[in-house]
Symmetry: C2
Subunit: 305 residues, 2 copies
Amino acid sequence: MEIRTLKTFVAVANLKGFSAAARQLNMVQPAVSRQISELEEELGVSLFWRSTREVRITAAGETLLREATEILAQEERARLLVQRTGTGELGRLRIGFLGSAVQAFLPALVREFSARFPQIQVSLLEMTAGELAEALMAGRLDVSLSRPLPPAMADRFESWDIYSDRLVAFLPDGHALASEPCLPVSALSSHPFVLFQRDGAPDLFDQVVSVCNAAGFSPDILAQPNSMQAVLIAVGSGLGVTLAPACIAQLNTSGCVERPLSDQTVPIPLQLHVRADRAEAATQAFAALVKEELGTIRKIMGAGG
Amino acid sequence: MEIRTLKTFVAVANLKGFSAAARQLNMVQPAVSRQISELEEELGVSLFWRSTREVRITAAGETLLREATEILAQEERARLLVQRTGTGELGRLRIGFLGSAVQAFLPALVREFSARFPQIQVSLLEMTAGELAEALMAGRLDVSLSRPLPPAMADRFESWDIYSDRLVAFLPDGHALASEPCLPVSALSSHPFVLFQRDGAPDLFDQVVSVCNAAGFSPDILAQPNSMQAVLIAVGSGLGVTLAPACIAQLNTSGCVERPLSDQTVPIPLQLHVRADRAEAATQAFAALVKEELGTIRKIMGAGG
DNA sequence: GATAATTATACAGTATCTGTATAAGTGGTG
DNA sequence: CACCACTTATACAGATACTGTATAATTATC
C-alpha cells in the first residue's frame, strides 16, 4: 500500500471510473487498472465491482476510501509541518541562561523573537554555568547564554561575545571597608569569603581565586552556596565578603554594598553559544536576532548592569 | 513521500543510524541513504545531521517522525479494516422490507444475524414495494424482502421465495357478507373497494383488479390510502371492503373481519432479493442465514401468518 | 597510527512501472 | 439489428527507478 497507489484509488473512487481517474492524474487507463488490481491483490479484497459501463465501489472499497482520504490528508499536513519546521516557522527553541547575567535584556529579546516567530515554542531554562555546558553538550538546549565554554567543548560550538562584565566586591552593609568608594583586591585579604560553589561555575571560582593570588593572598572560603542569591544573602548577613560579576547586583542585594575594584580588569564575557554545524533554523533565527540587538544589549548592560 | 520511504525514515530515526536501519529492513545501507536524501530533497529540509559517527535527527525530522508514525499506524489500521470489511466481519447491512409481511419472523432473524456478526451495523428500512424496488436498484439497499421484482429488474438480482401468501377479503365488522365464513370474489362485486395506492405496490394493485375482472366485475375503487394500516382503518370505518395479502392481519384490524376467498388461489410470494453479482460478504452472509432458516420461517407463516 | 565502524557516491543490473496497441463488453441510436 | 462511443482488461515493449556491489571518505577507539 503506497501513497501513490492510494491517490489513484481515491481518484477512481471519487470519479467512479478508471479512465476518468487516469485523465485527472495525467496517466493512462491501463496503469490505473493495474495499480488498483494490484492493490486488491495485496489486500485480498475487491475494491470495485466493474463492468464496461459502471464502476461501483464495494463495502471494503468504501472503508478504504475513508481511510485513504485521511492518510492523504495527513500526508499533506505532514509535508506542511515538516517544511515549516525546516524553515524555522514552526518548532521550539530551548534557551539556557545564567539568570542574573541576562535578566536585564533577555525578556525583551524573547518578546521580540516570539513576535517574529509566533509559532515557535520558546523554553527558558535557568541553570548554572556547569549545568548549561552539560545540557548544551547533551543536546537538551538549542542556545545557551553563559560564560565561555571549556576548551574541550569550544570547537563544537560557535560563540559570540554579548557583553563583558567585571568582578566587583560585595561587602556587608556596615563593613569596615564599606566606607571606601573603590577597593584594591588586597584589601580583602584578611576577610572571610563566600563564593558560589565551584561545581556550578568552575571558571568563575578559579578566576576569583587567581585574582586573589595575584593580589598576594589565598582567600579564606568559609561557605560555597549553590546560588548567587544565596551568596548575597550570606554577605548581607555579615558572614563574609565576595567577589562576583557586577551583574549579580540585579538580584536582591539588601544588606550588601557593591564596590568596584581598583586594581583588576579581568573581563568576564557573557556569550551566546550555538551548535557549530547542525543548528536548527529557529536557533539560527534567534542567534541572528541577538547579533542584531548587540548594540542595544551593550548599551543596557553598560549603563545599568 | 511514499509509505515505503516513511518506513525507512522511521527506522533510521528510531535506530539512529542508516546501517542499523538497513539491517532491520533487510536492505543495504546505500539504498537507505538514497531514500532519505531523496526524501530530504523532496521536502526541501534536512531530516538528519549525519557524521560518520552519529546520526542526529533535526527538528524537522522530529516533526516528520511524529507524523510518519501516525501515518504508518493508520495504514496498518486501514489494511485491517479493509480486510475485515472484505470478509464480512465488519460492515453494514441495509435491509429493506415490507413491514406487515415480515413482522412475524424478521426480528428473530436479525437478532441471530447480529449475534453471528456483531461488527456489522444493520439498518432496517421499512418501505412500500415500489420504494423497495427503487432503493434496491439505486444501491441504497443491500437486501430486500418484498414481492417479485418487475421483469426489467429481475435479471440484475437473485431472488428466493421465502413463503407464499394469498389474497383474502377484509370487511367491516357488521358487513352483510361478514356472516359468511368464506367468500367467492364475485360476492364483492357490488361493494366499494379501498385499495393500497397503486404507486406503492403496482403488482398487488393490478393483481387485485385482475382477480376482480376474472370474477366478472371491475372494482369500484373509492380510496387509495398510502399505507396498509390506513386501508384497514378505512375498512374498519365501514368505507369499503378490500382484498389484500393475508399477512396484513398482523396490523391493527380493529373493526375489520378477515374472510378467505373460496375461488382463487393466486399466490403472493415474499422473496429475498440480492444483487446478482456484486453482493457484499455481509449481504451474502445474511442471504445464507435466510436460506438456512427457510423451514422455520415457513412454519411460522403457515401457522400464524 | 592502524582498525573498525560509519555514511556518501558511482555504476551496473534488475524490477517495476508506464504507455501503446488491442481485445472484449455494454448502453445508446438510427 | 448493426453500429457507435465508451468503457475496462490484457499483452508487450520501453523507460524509469530502485536496489545492490564496490569503493571512497571520515572519525572515534584501541
